[in-house]
């Protein structure tokens, strides 16, 4: 599997079905999420008319979140205000894409773990079919019009960050394999992802995102790694791993700080975000037999990144850079993975301490069913 270990998944499934103690709670949680996902409406890009420059209702469209009218030039190009999300920006396609990916994941995860007596898998097929395959409602396999900016550009490479939710979809398809679900929807959605993968790797916009320098390229790399694994493209996967190694060398300093993230107006949040991206890539690599968790990248490492960030989880008031939206950064799944994967004691201890400090108000810190992208063994 791409994000998990088959035997671990089976063990978890067995405990959930036995439903003893806390597993009964986990099972009830999963049932709840799956039932909610099942009841959710099947909303597609075509349900939301957009101002995409192509005029094609099947084209994904979004606007950059931090772009605003210029008070000095009201009819001119929008200007950037980092960290300030414009509530007027078009975000209906991002929400719909996020929903189909997340809902499909919960539906198939529940079908896997609890047994599909509730039509969960069938509902997932309906949702995927509508969103990606049905000629009347499907999304085209590109993001040419992602993160457009009014009066400036019809779409930019940075829109690809909004494809990160596809990790959920890829995990859902991986679960279909585990469940032996083979049908036109599964085949078709994989084919859609193959086209999307090709677009990511060969289009100017895709290449632009690939070569961007911060969390965007880190998330892009995690996504293409997952796609390469899904599609069985070993050459692509090896190339993606090489890129990930470069990210680790270039984006971190020797203390473990993500240099470009810390400079953002919401630096704490962005450092956590990039650590989550790196952790996702490390997990995918782990299940492909590569240990990036414990690799030294010219003095940079995941361990150092965890240790560096952990000091601010312990005492957010010490955050020395900006966080204009006031949110306290968090990366629970990255810390959960780090606590298990890191072999050096300092890194392990930092990750475990980070998890403990959340324990006070999160009774599910040990749950493997949180809004996670991966299961740990």
């Amino acid at each position: 599997m791409i994000y998990a270990n088959e035997m671990t998944m089976q063990k978890i499934r067995d405990s959930l079905r036995a439903g003893k103690g806390m597993d009964a709670v986990h099972a009830a949680w999963l049932r709840w999420r799956a039932d909610e996902a099942k009841a959710a409406p099947s909303l597609c890009v075509t349900d939301y008319p957009s101002p995409a420059a192509s005029g094609d209702p099947h084209d994904y469209f979004s606007e950059g979140p931090y772009w605003w009218p210029d008070p000095k030039n009201p009819d001119g190009p929008y200007i950037r205000r980092d960290g300030e999300t414009n509530p007027e920006r078009y975000d209906l396609h991002p929400k719909a894409l996020g929903a189909v990916c997340r809902d499909s994941f919960y539906l198939l995860l529940a079908a896997y773990h609890l047994g599909d007596k509730c039509g969960w898998a069938e509902r997932a097929m309906e949702r995927m079919h509508a969103f990606f395959l049905d000629p009347a409602t499907k999304m085209n396999p590109n993001m040419n019009h992602g993160q457009a900016i009014r009066n400036l550009t019809p779409g930019r490479c940075f829109g690809i960050i909004e494809a990160v939710c596809m990790h959920n979809l890829i995990f859902a398809l991986d679960l279909c394999t585990q469940l032996g679900i083979e049908n036109d929807t599964v085949t078709g959605t994989k084919a859609w992802l193959a086209e999307f993968n090709h677009w990511l790797r060969t289009s100017p916009i895709g290449i632009g995102e690939r070569d961007s320098h911060n969390n965007h390229s880190m998330w892009y790399t995690s996504l293409v790694m997952a796609l390469a694994r899904l599609l069985g493209h070993d050459d692509e996967f090896a190339e993606d791993c090489g890129r990930f190694e470069n990210h680790m060398r270039r984006q971190l300093d020797e203390e473990g700080k993500f240099i470009d993230e810390a400079k953002r107006t919401n630096g704490f949040g962005y450092c956590c975000y990039n650590l989550s991206a790196a952790a996702t890539a490390c997990e995918i690599a782990h299940f492909a037999g590569r240990d990036y968790w414990n690799t030294d990248f010219d003095g940079r490492s995941m361990s150092k990144a965890v240790i560096w960030l952990r000091q601010y989880f312990a005492n957010p008031y010490k955050w020395p850079y900006q966080q204009i939206n006031g949110a306290v950064g968090d990366a629970p799944m990255a810390m959960a993975a780090a606590a298990v994967r890191l072999t050096d004691e300092a890194g392990q201890n930092a990750a475990k301490a980070a998890l403990r400090s959340r324990a006070a108000y999160n009774p599910y810190r040990d749950s493997i069913l949180g809004p996670t992208l991966f299961h740990l063994d």
């Binding site: 439903g19 103690g21 806390m22 009964a24 709670v25 099972a27 009830a28 949680w29 049932r31 709840w32 039932d35 909610e36 312990a314 005492n315 957010p316 008031y317 010490k318 955050w319 966080q323 939206n325 006031g326 949110a327 306290v328 950064g329 968090d330 108000y361 999160n362 009774p363 599910y364 949180g370 809004p371």
Partner: protein, 379 residues
């Protein structure tokens, strides 16, 4: 009822028993906790020999958490280091008291919501051992709470540790609601009455009441709960009046608790006092008295308190006072109650914003209608 309403209890029980969605999770959680607790042996004060000067193994004993040996005078009186917990302090009595309080309420919530008499029986058995049985019971006082080596054998300040008794009072309230009465419930009623009397008439009790800051708030919260449990209407009314005067004294005009902002962990202490005040307001609400919207004088009110603290939940980095342990303050149940009870829109909006601010990093907010909170909110 004291902390909630019979209608709220019935409604929550109905959704838990239907077990759909989130309530299904609550049901599983409650059952799991109740089973765990039932299987645990009951630890009593008498299981742990303490250095209480009375030499009575039934006397609760604890040491002040922030008191340490004086490096300049090693065998001498301890000195205070606010916010720094001394890990060598005697805390077995504190620990087992908190365990029995939490366990009893868990069992009674499970008994009521899951309609399982066996959990009520388990709760009664634990209460009997800890508070009623002559061989193992705790004496109904806190004479030797928060002692300080070389300074005192106990202080009124120790009464703050009695706040866990809210859980026992809630459990007893549920027993009453379920019409369960026996030798244990009679013994508990007597114990509460004796503790209530000690709180009101002893030197320690009076000292704690008049200390000021969160100690007075939590003292009044406890006497209000006990007055309601015992049916002392005069005592209840007097306590409500005292709370209003006390809160007016503690507040700056813009809604800050001035005795808490000077602490080394001021954010969490402000939240602590807000939670105590909210608990009092909720108990008063359940008795038909509206303290949530009372003007304490000079525009000081719960709304002002909520409006003052809410921006710091939204942006903890802007906290202008100390918080040496790095923790971010939080008061979710108080904010939840405020978002419903406050009549002014600005107050309600601030409370809602405070709740929304948590969701970014706490996806489990409001996940369970049964939290380990001091009270059980009933909209």
């Amino acid at each position: 009822m004291i902390y909630t309403t019979p209608a709220a209890m019935r409604s929550i029980a109905a959704s838990i028993r239907a077990g759909k969605g989130r309530a299904g999770m609550s049901a599983a959680y409650l059952r799991w906790k109740a089973e765990e607790v039932s299987a645990r042996p009951t630890e009593c004060l008498t299981d742990f020999v303490s250095p209480a000067v009375s030499g009575d193994p039934h006397d609760f004993f604890s040491e002040g958490p922030y008191w340490w040996p004086d490096p300049k005078n090693p065998g001498g009186p301890y000195i205070r280091r606010d916010g720094e917990f001394n890990p060598d302090r005697f805390e077995e009595h504190y620990r087992v008291l908190h365990v029995i309080c939490e366990d009893t309420l868990t069992l009674m919530l499970a008994a009521y919501h899951l309609d399982e008499r066996k959990y009520a029986d388990a709760a009664l058995s634990k209460l009997h051992a800890f508070f009623v049985d002559e061989k193992t019971r705790m004496n109904p006082h806190f004479e030797y709470g928060q002692a300080i080596r070389g300074v005192c054998s106990g202080r009124y300040i120790g009464i703050i540790d009695a706040k866990c008794l809210h859980r026992v009072i809630f459990a007893l309230d549920i027993l009453r609601e379920m019409a369960i009465e026996n030798e244990t419930t009679a013994g508990m009623r007597q114990w509460i009455a004796d503790m209530y009397n000690w709180l009101r008439t002893s030197k320690h009790g009076i000292g704690e009441k008049n200390h000021g800051n969160n100690h007075s708030t939590w003292y009044i919260a406890l006497t209000i709960a006990m007055a309601r449990f015992l049916g002392d209407e005069e005592g209840f009314a007097a306590d409500c009046a005292f709370f209003c005067t006390l809160t007016e004294k503690q507040l700056s005009p813009d809604g800050a608790f001035t005795d808490e902002t000077t602490r080394t962990n001021a954010f969490t202490y402000c939240c602590f006092n807000i939670i105590g005040a909210a608990l009092i307001c909720e108990m008063a609400h359940c008795a038909g008295v509206d303290l949530w919207n009372r003007d304490f004088g000079g525009g000081k009110s719960m709304s002002a308190v909520i409006r003052w603290i809410a921006p710091y939940f939204a942006n903890p980095y802007s906290w202008p006072y100390k918080q040496i342990n790095g923790a971010v303050g939080d008061a979710p149940m108080a904010m939840l109650a405020a978002s419903v009870r406050l009549q002014d829109e600005a107050g309600r909006a601030a409370a809602k914003a405070a709740l929304d601010a948590r969701s970014a990093y706490d996806p489990w907010r409001n996940m369970m209608p049964i939290g380990s909170t001091e009270f059980y909110f009933a909209p």
